[in-house]
């Protein structure tokens, strides 16, 4: 979820109104945004729209709010003038990072505010929409230092070197990936590539190595920059075009003039769109669907005129003929995959809180799972015996589950990416968790008598996903004089209450003393007995413990 930092005054200026906190919160609903923090002029916004990069700048937010409020309705309309800048794309990047799209924005008044927004937008779009620059990387340059035509071409390590941003001496691509901060962060994106992608101008001055880093010479945009060259690299045509248009729109909203670049691709077969194409295109797409779908989805009865107005507030142009509705939308709205996406936008224009909620009339009978019922039945029995229920985590450590229990190497369900070694496996049995519980309560009044009803996982062949999940009951008692008789009495009276048969057979377990037994309750196996002195010591306990555990 993108978190955006904007100046409140800047937003007010772009929308053309002044905001109280409440009014701001109301309007941010249009971008699925929430005020994260507001201190003086500094406003942080959480934008939940993860598929709409056009909203991730103050200009984008203002653009959306203005439409929803009816200040500027319908499709965005940006003029693109022709430039004579050619960009030649080399075939040798086909397998590395084949696509590049470019644009020029002239006469930009680069203020500090704009610079901050521009870099934030570039960062958010590259990181979030571009999946950490994997799917797209954006470069911004001072056009006046570059000499067109521009080339996008792959170079071998020994063929090229340049000074990367924030560096003093020229480096080879491999050195940048090994030494420069940005290089190290994104090195994996060029791992195994036969050549390094380079943007270079007619003077053979390197502009950048996408999607890693710009050069110190042309790739530095400052408050002195007037004319900008923008490029986006990646793999998918719609993705790179969207990012390029999003960048251009923000600059144009601040008075910049957009110029196109002529892209010369090696061929017109995939992934290339055409041999020669100019970007940015600001194309539109059309979607046609039955008008009845609107009522079916929303429950609202709307006149054609209302539908068209609500859609225009979402920056769509639409027409209704007979029962069909034809919606035209900007191609940068790659989040629109189905008519329901358009209908949601219509609802947002309408305002969720202007809709009268309707009760559902459905005569169905509710029920809980049978297992949940059984578990609660057992729980009632345990409470009746005078035990305190506890609830421990499923996540625990191998040390608690196995080592301290005197159990050697055993298979446990284990996490690939634990946050802490204390929570790296999922428990196979409850007993160790209750012993661990006792170790944290040595200072509390005795006797301590507890139970847990909880899920346990065991690796098993022939079951779904190779993991069998059971619900176990574990009872643990500790006080100075606790012994086998006491725990067995608990089991016997509990089984009587539950109305199940219970067989107790002498058997030894690595964590129980000689006074231990296998128990078969209602046909399911478990164990019961006095915990071994060693195990008591491992858990750092002072008093004897008796325990039983079985699957229910």
């Amino acid at each position: 979820m993108p978190n955006l930092e904007v100046s409140k005054k800047d937003l007010e200026r772009l929308v053309g109104c002044s905001y109280s906190k409440e009014k701001l919160e109301d309007d941010l609903e249009y971008i699925k945004g929430e005020v994260d923090a507001l201190e003086g002029d500094s406003l942080r916004i959480d934008c939940k729209e993860t598929n709409r990069p056009d909203l991730w700048s103050v200009e984008g937010i203002a653009r959306e709010i203005k439409a929803r409020k009816g200040i500027e309705k319908g499709l965005v309309n940006y003029k693109v003038k022709k430039s004579n800048v050619d960009v030649f794309i080399h075939q040798n990047l086909l397998k590395v990072r084949p696509l590049i799209v470019c644009a020029i924005v002239k006469n930009v008044k680069v203020s500090e505010e704009l610079l901050v927004q521009l870099i934030q937008l570039q960062e958010k779009v590259g990181e979030s929409y571009g999946r950490r620059r994997k799917e797209l990387g954006i470069g911004l340059y001072d056009l006046d230092i570059m000499k067109p035509p521009i080339y996008y071409k792959g170079f071998k390590d020994e063929e090229i070197e340049f000074i990367p941003l924030e560096w003093k001496v020229p480096l080879r691509p491999s050195e940048i990936l090994a030494q420069h901060d940005k290089g190290k962060t994104y090195a994996h994106l060029l791992k195994g590539a036969s050549v390094y992608p380079i943007v270079i101008d007619a003077n053979k001055t390197v502009a950048s190595m996408p999607p890693i880093i710009n050069s110190q010479i042309t790739g530095k945009v400052t408050e002195k920059t007037k004319n900008l060259f923008i490029e986006v690299t990646g793999f998918k045509w719609e993705t790179v075009c969207t990012a390029l248009e999003v960048m251009c729109m923000s600059l144009a909203d601040r008075g910049g003039e957009i110029y196109s670049c002529n892209l010369h691709f090696p061929s017109d077969s995939k992934p290339y769109p055409k041999k020669l194409i100019s970007t940015p295109m600001f194309k539109t797409e059309k979607m046609v669907f039955d008008k009845s779908l609107i009522k079916e989805m929303t429950g609202l009865v709307l006149k054609d005129k209302e539908i068209i107005d609500l859609l225009s507030r979402a920056r769509f142009n639409s027409k209704i003929s007979s029962n069909k509705i034809i919606v035209e939308y900007s191609s940068y709205r790659t989040d629109i995959m189905h008519p329901v996406d358009i209908i949601e936008d219509l609802l947002i224009s309408y305002g969720f809180n202007n809709i009268q909620p309707e009760e559902i009339e459905m005569s169905v009978v509710g029920s809980e799972l049978k297992e949940a019922k059984v578990i609660d039945f057992v729980r009632e029995g345990c409470v009746g015996v005078g035990l305190q229920e506890v609830m421990t985590f499923n996540l625990t450590s191998r040390e608690i589950q196995s080592t301290k229990m005197n159990l050697v190497e055993e298979e446990l369900v284990e996490l690939e990416n634990p946050v802490s070694i204390n929570y790296a496996v999922l428990r196979r049995r409850l007993t160790p968790q209750l012993l661990d519980f006792f170790s944290k309560n040595k200072d509390k009044e005795f006797p301590q008598k507890i139970f847990e009803l909880g899920t346990c996982l065991e690796i098993k062949e022939g079951v779904e996903n190779g993991v069998s999940q059971t619900t176990n009951l574990c009872i643990a008692l500790t006080h100075s004089n606790v012994n086998f008789t006491e725990i067995k009495s608990v089991l016997v009276s509990l089984c009587k209450y539950l109305g199940v048969e219970c067989v107790v057979k002498k058997k030894s377990f690595p964590f129980l003393s000689d006074n231990s037994a296998e128990i078969i309750v209602n046909g399911k196996k478990g164990f019961m007995g006095e915990v071994k002195k060693e195990v008591i010591d491992y858990f750092n306990l002072r008093k004897p413990v008796c325990v039983l555990e079985f699957e229910i």
Partner: protein
């Protein structure tokens, strides 16, 4: 009846037994335990009451007692270093190099050198060209008196001064101040004792007095809360779905139309399993329709995400990250219509455990399927939840985003005491998901993190108390009623 007679009648069984076992000479509480057979805690309490009632006199004085240091505790478990060293040497065949012996004995360098010195002094070992050799002198001459002194101190028994001083010198024990309490009978107590030993005195209770605590058998408060939530959902006509801790990415993400390159599917946002690594996918027909949902929208009329979907990624196992994984499974297994479904699901996310974050938590999750369900019904259902589950006064809806619902909505509810709270996320399942599973009806779905409500109902500020490992809290927690 005389005043004394009344007082004697009011004595409890324990007080009587203690009173009968003390006389005019001061004795320790332990001595009373021995003579009366009453447990130490009860003796302590009874003496205090007898003192209060004027039947006994307690004298308090400070004394110095010995207790084990951490070194002492190790020595108690493993034996004194000199004996450990000797034992190790014998195990190594009576002869070993310095480094081998030090290594095998598990002693620190310092302990090892001290232990060696002691054994040398006793002529138990000699050092011969870098080797330590057993002289055999120790056979039958081993002295365990110091070890037993250590054990006695641990158990609180008396130990000869010579031993305790030696242990103190070696840093195995330390001196601590402790309060020594002695008890003797008072003249009034002697009279009472006389009555008790000559007559059969029936007990009269002080009905207005204090009584000891009883620990009730109780449910964990959080469990009690969850059970009541379950009851509420059943009463609203919902049918419970089964859940599992482990699932495949297929159910957690793919069925829910969440693309395989989605940031939520990375190691920083969700847990994955190291072992076992991958699980099974359902029938080929279902897998193929989910594949086409992602690649080109399938039969939904949408255009899909437009990428090549991988079966391998979908087969990866993970602990369920959200309750919707179980909804996905239910939808694949087949659903009745009209019907209402719910689940209380344990979910896992890679967070660091602190006062506001749990590493595992419960989500309440569900959906309603039926003919002619629309967005107004979704809002109606959310409003009903807010009132019947959270007791909210007002509700407000916000546009939201989930990969699997469109439209998506967030419900905020105004609780009379909690104020405005984000209460649930909801929406209508995307056609890409439903149509490709062969479901023709609209489905409205919702999910809520119920832990915040649980914290409020349980009256706690630290979320860790939901899974409390503090027995005192659990024992004293009030019952929950939502």
């Amino acid at each position: 009846m005389s005043n004394l007679g009344v007082k004697v009648k009011e004595l409890s069984e324990i007080e009587r037994r203690v009173l009968l076992n003390i006389d005019s000479k001061f004795v320790g509480f332990e001595d009373v335990v021995h003579s009366s057979g009453v447990e130490i805690d009860s003796v302590r309490r009874a003496c205090a009451w007898l003192d209060q009632k004027g039947f006994a006199v307690i004298s308090e004085s400070e004394e110095e007692v010995f207790s084990l240091t951490s070194l002492g505790e190790i020595a108690l478990k493993k034996g004194l270093p000199e004996n450990v060293l000797l034992k190790t040497l014998k195990e190594l065949g009576g002869k070993a190099s310095f480094s081998l012996l030090e290594n095998k004995s598990g002693l620190s360098k310092q302990e090892f050198m001290a232990a060696l010195g002691i054994n040398k002094r006793k002529a138990f070992v000699v050092i011969n060209s870098g080797n330590v050799e057993d002289t055999g002198v120790s056979e039958g001459n081993l002295d365990f008196s110091l070890e037993s002194a250590l054990k006695n101190i641990f158990e609180g028994k008396k130990v000869e001064d010579a031993f305790s001083l030696e242990l103190l010198k070696r840093g195995l024990v330390e001196k601590k101040k402790s309060v020594l309490r002695l008890v003797k009978i008072s003249p009034l107590g002697s009279d009472a004792k006389k009555i008790l030993s000559t007559q059969d005195v029936e007990r009269v209770f002080d009905v207005e007095g204090e009584v000891p605590n009883i620990f009730l058998g109780k449910r964990a408060p959080y469990v009690q809360f969850l059970q009541q939530i379950r009851g509420k959902l059943v009463s609203l006509g919902f049918k419970e779905m089964p859940t599992s801790l482990i699932t495949t990415e297929f159910f957690n993400f793919d069925v829910l139309y969440q693309p395989q390159n989605h940031p939520a599917r990375t190691l920083t946002d969700t847990y994955q399993l190291k072992y076992p690594k991958s699980g099974q996918l359902p029938d080929k027909k279902i897998v193929d329709s989910i594949k086409s949902a992602h690649e080109n929208g399938g039969v939904s009329g949408g255009r899909g995400w437009g990428y090549e979907w991988s079966k391998e990624v979908a087969s990866k196992l993970m602990p369920s990250a959200h309750g919707t994984a179980h909804t996905a499974k239910q939808l694949v297994k087949g659903v009745d219509s009209p019907q209402k479904y719910f689940a209380i699901a344990r979910c896992f996310r890679p967070d660091v455990l602190d006062a506001t974050h749990l590493i595992e938590f419960n989500q309440l999750e569900g959906f309603i399927i039926g003919d002619d369900l629309n967005f107004k019904h979704l809002l109606g259902m959310l409003k009903e939840f807010a009132t019947s589950i959270a007791g909210a006064e007002k509700v407000k809806f916000f546009p939201d985003y989930y990969p699997f619902t469109e439209p998506s909505v967030q419900l905020s509810a105004k609780h009379p005491e909690m104020g405005w709270v984000e209460f649930a996320g909801a929406g209508m399942f995307r056609p890409e998901m439903l149509r490709n599973l062969g479901i023709k009806q609209n489905v409205i779905a919702w999910g809520m993190g119920i832990d915040r409500l649980a914290m409020f109902k349980l009256g706690i500020n630290d979320i860790r108390y939901l899974f409390s490992d503090d027995l005192k809290y659990l024992r004293e927690a009030k019952g929950v009623l939502i």
